[in-house]
Amino acid sequence: MFLNSIALISQEVLEASILISILMALAKQLQLSQRWVLIALVMGSIFAFIYGQNMGDVSEWFDYVGQEIVNASIQLLIVILMFLATFLYSHSIFSSNKQGQIIFLANAIAIVALAIVREGAEIYNYLIGALVQPDYVLTVTAGSLIGTGIGISIGVLFYYAMGALTGKKRHIIGLVLFSLIAGSMTSQAILLLNQADWLISTPVLWDSSHLLSEHSLTGRLLYGLIGYEATPSALEFAGYLGTALIILFIGMKKMPKIKCLEQTINA
């Protein structure tokens, strides 16, 4: 139970943690206050609690596939908001004025809160099940705390690693990571809709489980980080690639303007 809770919680926390660290790095680049993270964490936790508590009822919606539909909608909404974040960040006309910055922060709050809702609801269900059994309370609490610690640490590491990079490198690496996370969100949404039988199942494109198993620690970390899947279907892969390319396209298109913004900030 101890190792299981570490693995489970760290994987769930990691996804939101990386997303937070990249958005924080982008906000820092725009010289914005980081108080938005706190608002996002509180809002996300409240909604995760509500969703987690009502998971049983939600699951019964749409002929017992409500959970997939709600989760896929959350994932797709996050992807759309990530498109908007990339657009706002990359166009100095928005990122350099007050209104644009407020929209950027409100958007960042929505992305993080939504990411926490989904992962948090799962953690909530895990904990209410495990913590009612006296034998497990100590091991599960300790494991969950360590798991949370691991998830947050990796996020913090990412944040400072990105901070250590110079402007252009930070922009490119941040953008690539952002595109991979958005890609992973789309492929997860496709998988969920397929699980609910709302989308047709397409053939598996490859099987890399012998190279890197999803059971392994690295596999689980990579799943949390960039949505590593050992046996992706054609549709999941297409969704992943398409989304990642859209983010790169939006973010790369206005590169010269970022330089203009940096010069304005430095001046």
Binding site: M1, N4, L8, M55, G56, S59, E60, D63, Y64, V65, Q67, E68, A121, E122, N125, Y126, I128, G129, A130, V132, Q133, L191, N194, Q195, A196, D197, S201, S209, S213, E214, H215, E229, A230, T231, S233
Partner: protein, 118 residues
Amino acid sequence: MINYMKILSWKNFLYLSIGFLTYSSNVIAGPPIIEIEIKDHLFFPSTVEIPANKKIKLLVKNLDPTPEEFESYDLNREKVIAGNRKVIIFIGPLAPGEYPFFGEFYPKTAQGKIVAIE
């Protein structure tokens, strides 16, 4: 003399449509339903045989008061099942072979496998 206008009335058209839809839904039957139960953090049955290359509707009933998460790396499936609730998970079409699954909240005990047979 037969009144053709009466035969072609909208009511008859409606009856015909309902008849056709009922007929077609019987012909194009949904995927077969396979039932799995979770009790005391164990899956019953723990080995489920299904026909290969066919879509299957898994009906997973959680008889425990605590939530469980049905998870399978090989099936690419993951779903929380609240205590004393049931859910539906679509799987397949699968190539012949074995596909292990487990309860992510209690992976030591809650284990099982789907066996797709040609």
